[in-house]
Amino acid sequence: MDRYLVLIPLLPLLASGFNLLVSRKYFPEKAHIFAILSVAGSFILSLLVFREIYDNEGPLHQHLWSWIASGRFHAEIGLFADQLTAVMLVMVTFVSLLVHIYSVGYMHGDASFYRFFSWLPLFVFTMLVLVLADNYLLIFFGWEGVGLCSYLLIGYYYKRRSAGNAAKKAFIVNRIGDVGFGLGIMLIFTTFGTISFAGEHGVFSELSHGDYSTKTLTAIGLLLFTGAVGKSAQFPLHVWLPDAMEGPTPVSALIHAATMVTAGIYLVARSNPIYMQAPDAMMVVAVIGAFTAFMGATIATVQNDIKRVVAYSTVSQLGYMALALGVGAWVTAIFHLVAHAFFKACLFLGSGSVIHGMHEEQDIQKMGGLRKFMPITFWTFLIASLANAGVFPFAGFWSKDEIITGAWESSIFPRFGDLLTVVALVTAFISAYYMFRLVFLTFFGKPRFDESKIHPHESPSIMTLPLVILAAVTIVFGAVGYPPDAGRFHKFLEPVFATAQHHEEAVIAETATHEEEAGETGAVAEAAEHEEGHHISNETIITFAVISTILALGGILLSWLVFMKRRIDPVAFAVDHPGLYNFLYKKWYIDEVYNAEVVFPMRRLAMYLWQIIDVKVIDGTLMGVARGFGDLSQGLRTLQTGLVRNYALAIALGMVLIIGIYFAAFSSLFR
């Protein structure tokens, strides 16, 4: 199987190239066929890879070729698949396949249909390279590739000015994170002498053998996380994600919910051995994650654009994942990542279906009562919303619950853990509230649109089928994570984080010995649990499960009271508290702050650099130098007289000059 790894990313690349070069001209209406077939092929291959790894547990490795070899620096093109990769592969190709199928209906009749189905497989290719890479540079290639595809697809409707601006914003904001990532790779190279993480001489095995300073590892961790902050839309670089909703909705579902934005989470999880030795970096990850989760959720409560609500919900959920990473609950982070991919893709595709049915209307204040017009969309959307709100027994419940217990039980920084848990719980409440605000305003109540003009209709089956599949997966996916922290999913992924787990257990063992002095029985019981492999007591799990369920139901209840029963009038509340409302509605004024503090001064500086430094100093110098070389060239060409005797003279003179200088300067004969 390892010899066929390359096919997984290659198939979408071929489809993309084919559509761009051939389909465009000869059958632009049929471009989707090649795209879907290629992604389906990748999906099947990914399943095979998954099965092989599930059976054998050994990672697969395929070395393709050496790209650059220069001194100690070796840039290899190699693919690597372990359990983490296998999970990501299946998730990415599965969601991609469904989104491709959905897009056939959604993009039907678009003027540049082939262009959409050229960029989308290209995105899948780069995403798969990112996931399959066996070294940081190749990850970076995939990383930049998905960034480029994201840019192209956000700006897909390039004739719309706002789409163009959103695309540029996404690209530029990501660039800031990428600088950090790039520096991180350089620091990895100077520290470990390699950029490959897998294999015998990879970063991770170096890390387990050698002794590296915590400061360096913390710096690497923070730099890599800077990249993740950009790509995974963490505060303060989250601003691009909501704007990215300018792209077609399937793109939002695939790139800006399920796959690309999770690349940062994947990167940090992949680098877990580095983080485990850099607790300070992990704390930063956890704090940023918790803050992002809270901030995203609060903003989502007042937005009126259906896609924006879902987008801020994505920001918030990504914050949860980062929080899980930061507290060392690695498997949980990936569990939530995959669960989130399914239900968030479902939510986005559902929003797309609503927008499609409502003739491009996106404002939820102008919807309502859609339940009876589009039942399939409604039911699938409801299931995904329940998952996002964290209601039992949907996928999101299990993973979110684990994050909360993970934060509570985190052995890395016990004091912070409690605070983070509280933030996570509050966010869970808000999540349930905003999710059901969306559901109630969209699907319940009386229609608030002009029913004589707009006739909502259910989307064609090619669009509802992916919705149904995703909803079904959302329902059952939680099962692989049962029982919490020891489910199949955890057992499967454990080897990837084995080193991390060891470290953590060592810390716990240390605390256990301390406790032993206090009370022997408790320590013994706990030690017995360690041997079983899960160190969170059942009491804790159940307690938090109950608390978070109550909070989620409370959020739903509040939202029901506000938007269905109208016990509290939201408009009156907003009028009474204009400060709070505007703060949330204007997204914490972050864009305004950036405009005033970053963009505007940068623009002034750019104007200065352009008009004074560039035009006068640099251009002036350059033109002068260029003119100088031109004159020199004209002068020197006159040496070429065309006469053989002059040429011969040049040779003879050259010879005499060289020998003369050498003898005069270097030989001791004439001294």
Binding site: S633, I658, F666
Partner: protein, 522 residues
């Protein structure tokens, strides 16, 4: 490793196959030309040539792990031989592909057979230099290449410009050959042997402490550099280049910008590194200074050329300069001896070798497109390619690839070539030389990009006046474009292969009769 056994009764013919095949090819071509009827001769001779060179390439693969010498050490099958031969044979194949359609077009007025025969002998000469372990072999090889090239330059003998170029080339060539031979005579006189390994051993042992001897060795060294400087077109011995390049038929220019230059560099590596390596501290500064002069003058004068063949002539001078940087980065430590541990700059020669291979793909490519344009009745000035992209998009795109590659932009092969050269200069602590390469490349961007700009952004006022089919030429251009795009990405493997050249020095140990146990297989 199967070591050389000096007690062998006769030469080991088994080692010589690639060179032998090219010799046989030349002989076969002579007879084929005489006996094949005129109307079939084009197809037959082209086919025989390509098959011959391909066979030689195959034999080269077989030769590549032999690492041995024969004919009393005057023929060497070591890593250097193999890589240089690879460069030359690849260049030969592309030369045939590039010139075939041109010849057919010209077929009424010039004899096709002679062209292929001269080409084969010229290639043979270059191969001999590459595999030479002896001054005599080097000289014979160089002259064989040069004599065939003189004739090829004036091949279209009714064209006054071609004849003028050929004559200039010839007159100056024999002048330089005389200087080279004089240098060789000094080297022989001082060391008492024409064998490179003996020269290395004797000169190395004797030079310490004897002033007159040191001066004489220096004289020999400088004369050799001057003589070979002409062959590779280094400043100030470059003056024949623009006239000869411009005068020669374009496919011949493609060929002569590569193979005789490769032969010249082969001789330089053999003489300076293998023979006079212990004097590297004496010669590498001269090479470095000449390299800077060469790349600067080549690039600066190229700025004001409107004739593309002349422009490419100056550009090829500049590339000679870049390649010399690789040579200048070669350093042997003090303390004479054949110990590989003493050598710091082996990567410089590897970089030079890789550069030459890259240069084959870039330069023959550029001339191939010019041939394509000329075959359609256009001239070779900037005005003639104006708006080419709108009338003939594919050749224009190919030309753009070659220009950008010559300029050294990633991911094309020219970038990697320059990269390795710069790296070698920096590893040899010659940062200024690396900076010079970068500056020179900066200057060169102007005239390379001007071609691209003119092709793409100017309106087309010149059109093709003839329509011909040139399948072989097209194939050659396509292969060269692919080479430019792909070989850079796989540069690591190629550089690994080129680093085998160092066993040219270890094979030398066995020829000296040194203790066999010291020999290591790099």
């Amino acid at each position: 490793m199967d070591l050389l056994n000096l007690d062998l009764s006769g030469p080991q013919w088994g080692l010589v196959w690639p060179q032998l095949i090219v010799f046989l090819l030349a002989v076969v071509l002579v007879f084929a030309d005489a006996f094949i009827p005129k109307h079939r001769s084009f197809e037959m001779l082209t086919g025989i040539s390509i098959v011959g060179y391909l066979l030689a390439l195959g034999a080269l693969y077989w030769q590549h792990d032999k690492h041995a010498a024969t004919f009393q050490g005057s023929f060497r099958a070591d890593g250097l031989t193999v890589f240089l031969s690879l460069i030359i044979l690849v260049a030969a194949i592309f030369s045939v592909l590039t010139s075939a359609n041109y010849l057919k077009d010209y077929g009424e007025r010039v004899p096709i057979g002679e062209y292929y025969i001269l080409l084969a002998f010229s290639v043979l000469g270059a191969l001999l230099v590459s595999s030479a372990g002896d001054l005599i072999t080097i000289f014979v090889g160089i002259e064989l290449t040069a004599l065939a090239t003189y004739v090829l330059t004036g091949y279209t003998k009714r064209n006054a410009q071609a004849v003028e170029g050929a004559l200039k080339y010839f007159l100056l060539g024999i002048f330089a050959s005389a200087i080279l031979l004089y240098g060789m005579a000094w080297a022989y006189g001082l060391s008492g042997s024409t064998g490179l390994d003996n020269i290395r051993a004797n000169v190395g042992a004797a030079v310490e402490g004897q002033e007159w001897f040191e001066a004489s060795v220096l004289l020999a060294l400088l004369l050799l550099i001057v003589g070979l400087g002409f062959k590779i077109a280094a400043v100030p011995f470059h003056m024949w280049t623009p006239d000869a390049y411009e005068g020669a038929p374009t496919p011949v220019t493609a060929y002569m910008s590569v193979i005789p230059k490769a032969a010249g560099f082969a001789a330089m590596i053999r003489l300076l590194v293998q023979g006079l390596g212990p004097l590297s501290e004496d010669w590498r500064w001269l090479i470095a200074v000449l390299a800077v002069l060469t790349m600067m003058l080549g690039n600066i004068v190229a700025l004001s050329q409107r004739n593309l063949k002349r422009m490419l002539a100056y550009s090829s001078i500049a590339h000679t300069g870049y390649m010399m940087v690789g040579l200048a980065a070669y350093r042997e430590g003090t303390g004479f001896g054949n110990d590989l541990e003493n050598i710091i700059g082996t990567r410089g020669v590897s970089a030079l070798l890789y550069y030459m291979l890259a240069y084959v793909f870039m330069n023959i490519g550029a001339f191939a497109v010019l041939t394509w344009i000329q075959a359609r009745g256009r001239g070779v000035t900037l005005d003639d390619v104006s708006g080419l992209a709108s009338t003939d998009p594919l050749p224009a795109a190919a030309m753009a690839v070659f220009m950008v590659s010559l300029m050294g932009i990633p991911p094309l092969i020219g970038f990697y070539a320059k990269y390795y050269v710069i790296l070698a200069a920096m590893e040899a602590d010659m940062l200024w030389l690396a900076i010079a390469v970068v500056l020179a490349s900066g200057i060169s961007a102007y005239f390379y990009l001007r071609v691209v700009a003119v092709m793409y952004f100017s309106s087309s006022d010149v059109t093709n006046t003839r329509s011909v089919r040139t399948p072989l030429l097209n194939a050659s251009i396509i292969l060269l474009v692919i080479g430019n795009l792909v070989l850079g990405l796989f540069s690591a493997g190629i550089v690994d292969l080129s680093e085998d050249w160092t066993n040219a020095l270890t094979v030398a140990q066995t020829t000296d009769g040194a203790d066999a146990a010291q020999v290591t297989n790099p």
